[in-house]
């Protein structure tokens, strides 16, 4: 006990807007929380419920899905599907005992590096206040110092 909580967060970033926004944040040397681990997908529409559940199963304390703004999707309407899908996954999460706040959907364009930094910081704060997911699920703490 007393060990600091280091949240692990997977961020699905769409190639055209959010991944580019995250790149641009780095290029501008804006600091973003290292707890956030990006996975590049071509479109936020690729992020299936199974992927999100897999993240939690693999020990993620939070999952972030970032896409192009509605109307700006590189694939016309892929993000419309994401916008419909994520609230359903959030309901599913609360059904299985995971706080739905651990999954967040937002829109970050390639020009919104500051917004990427702001959202990731906010989300890390949220996850810190929720605590480790293992605790929420009543699972034993991970042993070892991995």
């Amino acid at each position: 006990m007393g060990e600091p909580f280091e949240p692990r967060i997977v961020a699905f970033l769409c190639n055209w807007c959010s991944y580019t926004g995250a790149d641009n944040a780095g290029i501008a040397r804006m600091k973003s929380p290292p707890e956030v681990l990006p996975i590049r997908v071509m479109c936020s529409g690729r992020v299936s419920p199974e992927m999100i559940l897999r993240c939690f199963r693999a020990g993620a304390d939070g999952v972030l899905v970032l896409g192009c703004h509605i109307g700006d999707c590189h694939y016309i309407s892929g993000n419309h599907r994401t916008a419909k899908r994520i609230p359903l996954v959030q309901r599913l999460l609360s059904y299985v005992g995971i706080n739905p706040e651990r999954l967040r959907l937002d829109w970050v364009s390639s020009a919104e590096a500051p917004k990427f930094v702001q959202i990731t910081n906010e989300f890390v704060q949220t996850i810190r206040s929720l605590g480790p997911i293992r605790q929420e699920l009543g699972l034993p703490r991970m042993g070892g110092g991995r």
Partner: protein, 654 residues
Amino acid sequence: MEEPRIGVYVCECGINISAMVDVQAVAELARRLPGVVVARVYKYMCAKPGQQMIQEDIRTLGLNRVVVASCSPRMHEPTFQQAVAEVGLNPYYLQMANIREHASWSTEDRQRATAKAGRLVRGAVFRAAYQAPLEPRRAPITKTALVVGGGVAGIQAALSIAEAGYPVYLVEREPSIGGRMAQLDKTFPTLDCSLCILGPKMVDAGRHPKIRLLTYSELEEVSGCVGNFRVRVRKRARSVDEQKCNGCGLCQEKCPTKVLDTAYEAGLGQRKAIYRPFAQAIPNIPVIDRQHCQFFTKGRCRVCEKVCPTGAIDFAQQDQILELEVGAIVIATGYALWDPAGLAQYSYGLSPNILTGLQFERLVSASGPTGGQILTFEGRPPERIAILHCVGSRDVNAKPYCSRICCMYALKHAHQVREKTGAQVYQFYMDMRAFGKGYEEFYQRVQEEGVVFVRGRGAEVDVLPDGKLRVRAEDANLGRLVCVDVDMVILASAMEPQPDTDRLAALCRIGRSPDGWLAEAHPKLRPSETATAGIFLAGCCQGPRDIPDTVSHADAAAMHVVRLFNQGEITISPTVAQVQVEKCVGCGECILVCAYSAIQRNQHGKAEVNPALCQGCGTCAAACPSQAIQSLHFTDQQLVAQIDGLLEEVFGTL
């Protein structure tokens, strides 16, 4: 699946990565990961020796997967894909871990940056094990171009593409092509008559067998991608049958309705309700301005119909929607003139003798409202004229940038005043930017013609009770305030992006620079390309420039189009969706979510992907309830492996 033999290459990027990430520790971690045969650190992995190191390892160690931990894949994925392909490894066996933008540059703490870099590398290594070879596909392209905007840029681009042998649609919003250059009297510094040099080009464009002019038309929709765009153009109703009209002009002559011409004559002259914008209009076919035509507003008149010898007037004509297929698009939509009323100190609009540069062009033009005589609104020859440079340009309260053409046209105007009248000319300028070929010499010439140059921005124009205009400025050379009373003021107003640039940028999915002009792909090295493949920029839509620079830019854009068409086909990414038929239950969910109508049911009721239409977004893969559709290079297996690698802690049953 063959046994993965993975090489991991950790780049220091000079010190961009190594200053914040312990690259040796990352390589050490990589060496302990399953399947990793070798892990190396190098200062510049993207440089030739770095690439050769990877190639050498592929050959000698028999690597079948390569992970490069360096900058963003958006930067160098193509570089490393090509490097591995050169020694026979399929480029889709490469995976990158972005430890520069996403770790070293974005993290303040070395230990945490290193830990994150390690996780990113582990994710990439785990993922690489599941990557599979893919072969790019080739697709034919539609060798027809679309040029949007029929000013000198669009005309030049269209002619160059057509001369290279490819058909072109030239779309222009106004009833005639010609654009701004057709409004000008003379061009600096050679003082060529503007329409005399543009006119022949307009005629060439109008009669070129490979060019189809679509005037009075607007772009409404763009879809598809490089090589195969589909565009929708609205051809507005001219109310004149283009096939029947012989261009005699009788309708225009007899039309009883006069309208203030705010377009071609810049508000100084009038036109009729049925009109050609100017005598040399191409096509030489009038349009009826339905907002002012008495038949359309009051339901009577029909004079034009009565006088037309060919029966070409068609009041019932409807807008036409044209669906065009083109392989490349050149945007040449030009600029708008900033309205000097935006800065109250210039009193623009308070006196008819305060003109913009474009209005003066019409005043001094032989085809203009005064037949080329320089007269005040009251009809007298002016005795003194002030020309103010940088009105709106180089001004933080309006446009911070230099509009580039104003110094030279202001000098030209001074010359024209001196040539045609005895009036004294006062030029108020901050810096004289005479940067082009023959420009400085022209400046010298105008100085010798007795024009008074006052170094200092024209600060204020006052309209005096007697109608005279008082210009105040600080003469920076004398270090004191000066004040001149004149009969006419010419404001060298700034260029600004067209007011609907927003809509155009959204239609074509291209970006804009902070100052609002359309964004080029690279400010130095790719000035006529955009970030969207197959869409190119010509002329002032990209930023202020004069005529010779516009023509060069247009030719550059045309060259890109011709280069693309000469290739004959485009390479299409193989990262498309693929159906595993045995898993597909034929529910059709994928068909519903596909934005490109790329999926259909085959005769067995199973989903089938048309790879030529599929853009590889993967939305269908996420929607499929039986995981029967996979998005190649972003398969469930690959993403799950990456997730596990990033987190490296799996609990519960899989």
